[in-house]
Amino acid sequence: MLNNTNDILTAVGIVKTFPGAVALDKVNFSLRRGEVHALLGENGAGKSTLIKCMTGAYRRDAGTLTLDGTEIDPHDTLDAQKLGIGTVYQEVNLLGNLSVAENLFLGRQPRRFGLVQTGEMKKRANALLAQYGIDINVSAALDSFSVAIQQVVAIARAVDLSGKVLILDEPTASLDAQEVEMLFRIVRDLKARGLGIVFITHFLEQVYDLADRITVLRNGQLVGTRETASLPRRELVTMMLGHELQSAEKAVAAAETSSGPVQFRFSNYGKAGTIKPFDLDVRKGEVVGIAGLLGSGRTETAELLFGVHKADSGTAEIGGKPANLSSPRAAIAARFGFCPEDRKVDGIIGELSVRENIALALQARRGWARPLSAAEQNALADRYIKALDIRTSDREKPIRLLSGGNQQKAILARWLATNPEFLILDEPTRGIDVGAHAEIIRLIGELCAQGMSLIVISSELEELVAYSSRVIVLRDRAHVAELTGSEITTEHIVNAIAAAPGAGEHP
C-alpha cells in the first residue's frame, strides 16, 4: 500500500508529543488522487494534530510525509500551501472586510506599473468562481455573503493556491442542508479533477454520502483505514468509540430501576438549531447516562438543562411544579449543578487557589452581600479535600498546579458544596488517569445513593453501562433512543448510535 503510485499524500509513522501527552503515536495515513478520505475520531483522538502536522502548523517529532513522490517537511501553513496542501477550516479563515476578489488574490494581485489592475482581478475572480458554479458580485465585501459562499471562496482560494491536496476541517458544521448539498457538489467536482481531499466531520451521514475511504483515530493511535462501502456503520462507531465490545453488561442489578417519583421532568424541551425538543424524566437518586458521538448534541443537552442556552420550547418541572431555568443563575437557585466538559476553559480558574475554586459556586449562590467567612471557606475546602481525596499540598495552592483528575474533583467539590439536587457531569472522566477515574465513578455511585439525581455524559460506554439506571442515546442533535435495565449494554448503545435514520439504508 505504501509507494502506491496512486497515492498523492502519505504519512508514515507520524509521532507528535506534547509535554505530558503523546498526541500521535506512529500514525500512518495515505490519500489517493481523486479520493475523498474521511478522518474520524472523538475529541482528543488526534485528528487535528495529524492535520496540523501535515499542514506545517505543528512540526512532527518523527515520521515521514511524502507528497507526490517527494518527501516534504513544511515548516508552516504557507509553506504547505506552496507545496500543494491547502486547508479550509470550519470558521472561515479569510478577511471579511476585504472584497471577494481581494480575498482570492491577496498577495498575488495582477499589477501593471506597480498598480493593482482591479478590472483584471475581478475578471479572474469571476472566472475562478464560475468553475464552482457561483456567480456573485466579487467586489462586495466577503462579509456580506453567507457562510456557505464564504466557505466556497475559501475552497476556491485554497485549490487555486495549492491544487494537490485539500483538507476540509469540519466545513459543514454551520451549514444548512441545502448549503451542504452545494458544498458536496463542489467537493465531488474537485475529486473528479484528481485532487486528494481529506474530510473531517462529526456527521456520519455525510461521511457515507461523500467519502471513499475512512480512517479512524483514537487516543492518538491509528485504529484503521477502510473502504467506506465495506464498513458497516455499526463497525465504524465501534472503531471510533473503541472497546472491542467486551459486551459490558449491567453487572449489578443493584442499579434497581428506580421506581421513585419523577423529581425532574422536562417535556418537549428544546431549542431550535441546537437540539430537537426532547422529553426527559429524572427520578430522585437516579443516574441517567447520555451517550452519543461528538457533535450529536450531548453537551447542548446539558447546557440547555442548566440554562446556559435558553430553551425556546417545552417546560421544566421540579417536584411537579413549573421551574424557571432560563439562566445558569436560575438553575443554581433551583439547586442544579453542572461540571462542564472542558474544565480548562469553562471550569477551573487556574490562578485561584483550590479553596477559592471550591467556594466559588456556593458564594455565587449566596450573593455578594453575604460573603463566606474565611473560616467557613477553610472548613468547606478542608472537608471536600478530605472527602474527595483531592491531592494537594495545601488548600491555598493555585489549582492549575494540580493534576487533571484532582482539578476535576475540585470542580465536583465546588458543586457538591452547593448541595445540589440535580447534578450534570459532562465527561467527568476525560483526560484523567486510571486511578482518579475509578474514584470519580465511585463518587457518582455514592452521590446517587445519597439521593442526588445525576445526568452523566460520557464517551466511555462501559462507564455509562456501569452506573446508569437509564441511558439516553443522541444522534444528529436529537434524542433517538432510551435504554433501561437490561437493555443497557455497550452493544445496544452502539447499535442505537449507528442506526441509520430511515431503516433499510445500505451500511
Binding site: 501553513t77 504557507l78 500551501q81 479563515n93 479569510l94 478577511l95 471579511g96 472586510n97 476585504l98 481581494e102 480575498n103 491577496l106 498577495g107 494581485q109 499589477r111 506597480g114 498598480l115 493593482v116 482591479t118 467586489s139 462586495a140 465585501a141 462579509d143 456580506s144 455573503f145 453567507s146
Partner: protein, 322 residues
C-alpha cells in the same frame, strides 16, 4: 449599493449640507478666497491625517504625530538659524529622521508585540522631549527661501489662492488614495485591520507592512511639520499639542472604522474640511468662542461612532435575512 461606501457618503452629505447652511448665512463663504484658505489653513493637519488614516485602517493608532510635527518645526528653525544648510537639505534630513522614528515604532509594535497605543505614547513623549532639548523658545525662520516658497501660488478666479502647502495637501491625498486603493501595500493595510492573525495565515507580510505603515505615518508627520513651519515661519516646541487627536477625529468623521479594516483616505480629506469649515464659520460669526469648534467636533464624532455601530448592526441583520 455597496455598504462600505455608506459612511463616506454620509460624511460628504454632512459636508455639503453644512457648507450650504454656512453659505445661506454668509454668502461670502462661497468665495474662492475662503476655499483657498480652507486648504492652506488645514494643510498640515490634512497631511498628518493621511498617515493616521493608514495607521487606523490597519487597526493601530499613532499618538506621536503632534509631537513629531513640533519636533520637525523646531529642528528646522534651529538648523536654519545656526547652520548655513539649505532648507531643502534640512527638509530631507528631517524627513529621514521622522520616517525612521515611525518605522522604529512600527518595528517595536510588531516584533515586541506591544500595543500601538503604548509604543506611540512613548514616542509622543520622546519626540516632544527632543523638541524641548533643541530649544524651548519660539524661533522665527527668516531664511529667504521660505519667502520664495510662500510666494508660489495658483491664483483662482475671484482672488482665491491655492498656496504651495494647500496644493501639497491635495497631492498627498491623491497619492494616499492611490496607495490605499490600488497597491498591494494598500490591500495589506486593510487586511491587517481585518485581522492580523488571519492576514498572516493568508501570506500577508505582517511585519514589513506594520513597519511601512508607521514609517509612512512618521514621514507624513515630518512633511506636515515642514508645512507647519512654512505656514507659521517659526519653530516652537510647544506647538501642535493634541494635533494627533484632531487627526484621529478627522479620520473617524471621514468614515473610517476606528477598529480598522474599513474606510477611505478620501473620507479623511472631507473630515479635515468639515473641521476647517466649522472653524471658518466661527471666524465669520465673530462672536462665538472658538471652543465651539471642539464642541461641534465632539458631537460629530459621537454621531459618527453611533452611525458606524448602526451600520454594523444593519448589515448583520441583512445577512441573516438574505
Amino acid at each position: 449599493m455597496n455598504q462600505k461606501y455608506l459612511p463616506l457618503i454620509a460624511t460628504i452629505i454632512i459636508f455639503i449640507v453644512s457648507y450650504a447652511v454656512c453659505a445661506a448665512q454668509y454668502p461670502n463663504i462661497l468665495s474662492t478666497r475662503v476655499v483657498g484658505n480652507l486648504l492652506t489653513d488645514n494643510a498640515f493637519l490634512g497631511i498628518a491625517a493621511v498617515g493616521m488614516t493608514f495607521v487606523i485602517l490597519s487597526g493601530g493608532i499613532d499618538l506621536s504625530i503632534g509631537s513629531v510635527i513640533a519636533f520637525t518645526g523646531i529642528f528646522l528653525a534651529v538648523m536654519l538659524e545656526s547652520t548655513s544648510i539649505h532648507p531643502l537639505a534640512a527638509f530631507a534630513l528631517v524627513l529621514v529622521i521622522t520616517t525612521l522614528f515611525g518605522a522604529i515604532m512600527g518595528a517595536i509594535i510588531h516584533y515586541l508585540e506591544m500595543p500601538a497605543f503604548i509604543v506611540t505614547l512613548a514616542g509622543m513623549f520622546l519626540a516632544r522631549g527632543m523638541a524641548f532639548v533643541l530649544s524651548i523658545d519660539s524661533i522665527p525662520i527668516k531664511h529667504p527661501f521660505y519667502a520664495t516658497m510662500k510666494s508660489f501660488y495658483y491664483k483662482l478666479p475671484g482672488g482665491g489662492r491655492i498656496t504651495l502647502i494647500g496644493g501639497l495637501m491635495v497631492l498627498v491625498f491623491a497619492i494616499g488614495i492611490l496607495l490605499a486603493q490600488r497597491t498591494r501595500f494598500g490591500t495589506n493595510v486593510y487586511a491587517l485591520g481585518g485581522g492580523a492573525q488571519t492576514s498572516a495565515l493568508m501570506g500577508v507580510p505582517v511585519g514589513r507592512t506594520t513597519v511601512l505603515i508607521y514609517g509612512l505615518s512618521g514621514f507624513l508627520a515630518g512633511l506636515s511639520g515642514i508645512v507647519y513651519s512654512l505656514y507659521t515661519s517659526a519653530g516652537y516646541s510647544l506647538a501642535t499639542v493634541g494635533v494627533e487627536l484632531d487627526a484621529i477625529a478627522a479620520v473617524v468623521i471621514g468614515g473610517t472604522l476606528l477598529t480598522g479594516g474599513a474606510g477611505f483616505v478620501g473620507g479623511t480629506l472631507v473630515g479635515v474640511l468639515i473641521q476647517g469649515l466649522i472653524q471658518t464659520y466661527i471666524t465669520f460669526d465673530g462672536s462665538l468662542s472658538s471652543w465651539w469648534t471642539k464642541i461641534l467636533i465632539g458631537a460629530l464624532l459621537f454621531a459618527f461612532i453611533l452611525m458606524q455601530k448602526a451600520i454594523l448592526l444593519l448589515s448583520r441583520q441583512n445577512k441573516r435575512y438574505s
